[in-house]
């Protein structure tokens, strides 16, 4: 009776097993990596804006506080974009003829909003409020990065579920005193964890509950 399997059959079998395992594992790593890539999370993209507004100039060089324009950040779920009137508090006095600011003047004259492109956006299925994060001592820079160094605004941190959960699992090192919330360059004077523990105790942060599903998905 002839042999069904050739002498090389075992080798082929092993090669096939190793090969399929490599494809499955490589595919999984590839998909996960792609989902976290700068391309998918849009962290490498500076969308064009009707006015090339520079946070580096306004927040960094001039030192205007974040809350001067994003006034809803402490009181409501959204930080909000400044109304045209806020731009015009200064630009009715300085750079009044700058061609760059023509859309702002047109907005005021025609009573039509400036059509900005939103940079920091969470999916609709995420429940998120700015006010609670500010109230508990999370600084702007923790999620938005060094806005004061951005010429055109971009998404500094990938807003993935990973990113949110990292902090919700262990918020302590990311907490800061109330008077440094909008300070982009603030570093804890001592050890970050020890500082954060004191703030967490003072604010009554309920560790463990922050990772419940309904905290973010309602």
């Amino acid at each position: 009776m002839a042999q069904i399997f050739s002498p090389a059959a075992d080798t082929w079998m092993r090669l096939f097993l190793v090969g399929s395992l490599a494809i499955v594992a490589g595919g999984t790593v590839g998909v996960a990596g792609f989902a976290r890539s700068a391309y998918i999370t849009s962290t490498d993209f500076r969308p064009a804006q009707p006015v090339p507004f520079s946070h580096r100039h306004h927040a960094g060089e001039l030192g205007i506080d974040c809350r001067y324009c994003h006034s809803g950040v402490e009181a409501g779920p959204q930080a909000g974009l400044p109304p045209t009137e806020t731009c015009m508090t200064c630009h009715s006095q300085i750079w009044t003829n700058a061609s760059m600011l023509e859309p702002v003047r047109q907005s005021l004259v025609q009573n039509q909003p400036i059509e900005w492109t939103r940079v920091a956006k969470l999916p609709d299925y995420v429940f998120f409020r700015h006010d609670i994060h500010i109230a508990k001592g999370v600084g702007c820079v923790s999620c938005h990065g060094r806005i004061d160094e951005m010429a055109l605004t971009y998404r500094a941190k990938a807003f993935t579920m990973d990113f949110c959960l990292d902090c919700h699992r262990d918020p302590t090192p990311n907490l800061r005193p109330k008077d440094h919330i909008t300070d982009m360059a603030w570093k804890p004077p001592g050890e970050a964890r020890k500082e954060g523990e004191a703030i967490a105790a003072h604010e009554g942060i309920r560790f463990g509950e922050l990772t419940h599903c309904y905290v973010c998905h309602r």
Binding site: T84, I114, W116
Partner: protein, 317 residues
């Protein structure tokens, strides 16, 4: 995806048809159907399987849509933000929406000036915070893409200035023959201001005619009040005080501008304390109302069905 079948002449003894065009086997009509649903014309007799295959495939792949990157969308701030406005925090306003010409008291939830939800005003005695389906649905009318954005003339948008100019020209013509041929089409309204303006217009052009367009309306009830009292009147049921209610083919708990109040009064009359007997309802109706319908026959203690137009006297066995 139903194709209007060409009429089979052999079966003309018993011909079923859905429209006059189909009955007369109108070629132009068939062409119109084919143009309206070009996909239907291409479908062969086995196309259903192909259709299901494609639908199944697109259903299976629908999940992939969730993997796309989040789009960059426009953000439109205010030009002049109102004082005390916080973006994302709702504001509540007491206001009214009209239903069949009658104002319904509502509380509107608004975000940045855009109403998203209407509920009954809890401080208003008529609804006391209750609402109905029409009140809930009224907010959708604000975002209806077919909602008029401005005046039109022969279907083309025009300006109010041109409307005013056109009407002032027409006014000259109407003045000559007392408004002969002038027709005004309006919806149901209970506005005294509008009524006064209509009266003034009627005095100026006596031969003018006003037409009222009502989707459902209260025409039957107005006819019955005209017969009983000599003039059309609004009916306001005081169900809370009634001991016996007799209804002749009238769905008095059915939809209408007073439905919330009627339903509340009816509920409280059924829940009365022991010193007063529960309310009794007798109904004579031509069409038995379904058990899940809220009003009349299904709620009645005694019910009698008869032919419309010969409403039988209610029985009390």
């Amino acid at each position: 995806m139903t194709r209007h079948p060409h009429i089979d002449e052999q079966r003309s003894a018993l011909r079923l048809w859905a429209g006059i065009e189909e009955l007369s086997n109108d070629a132009a009509f068939q062409a119109w159907v084919d143009a309206e649903y070009p996909a239907a014309a291409e479908f062969g007799p086995t196309a259903r399987r192909q259709f299901l295959k494609l639908m199944g495939a697109s259903f299976a792949l629908a999940g992939l849509a969730g993997c796309e990157k989040s789009p960059f969308v426009a953000a439109l701030p205010y030009v002049d933000q109102p004082e005390n406005e916080t973006i994302g925090v709702p504001r509540y306003y007491a206001t009214a929406v009209t239903f069949d010409g009658y104002a319904q008291p509502v509380i509107a939830t608004t975000y940045s000036g855009r109403p998203t939800k209407l509920d009954g005003n809890p401080d208003h005695p008529v609804t006391a915070g209750r609402s109905d389906v029409f009140m809930q649905a009224a907010v959708l009318g604000l975002y209806d893409p077919d909602r008029a954005q401005g005046p039109t003339r022969h279907g083309e948008p025009t300006t109010w200035m041109e409307v005013a100019a056109a009407i002032s020209t027409l006014r000259g013509d109407w003045g000559g023959d007392q408004g002969e041929g002038l027709r005004l089409l309006i919806g149901p309204t209970s506005s005294p201001t509008l009524q006064g303006q209509l009266d003034a217009l009627g005095k100026q052009f006596p031969k003018m005619r006003i037409h009222l367009h009502e989707a459902a309306g209260e025409a039957a009830r107005r006819a019955s009040t005209s017969a009983a009292y000599g003039q059309p009147l609004d009916l306001h049921y005081v169900l809370e005080q009634a001991d016996v209610v007799v209804s002749f083919d009238d769905d008095f708990l059915g939809p209408g501008p007073n439905q919330v109040r009627n339903a509340r009064d009816w509920a409280s009359s059924r829940r009365r304390s022991s010193e007063r007997p529960r309310i009794h309802l007798h109904v004579a109706e031509s069409v038995p109302s379904a058990p899940r319908a809220r009003g009349r026959g299904s709620t009645a203690g005694r019910r009698r069905n008869g032919r419309s137009g010969s409403a039988l006297p209610p029985s009390r066995r």
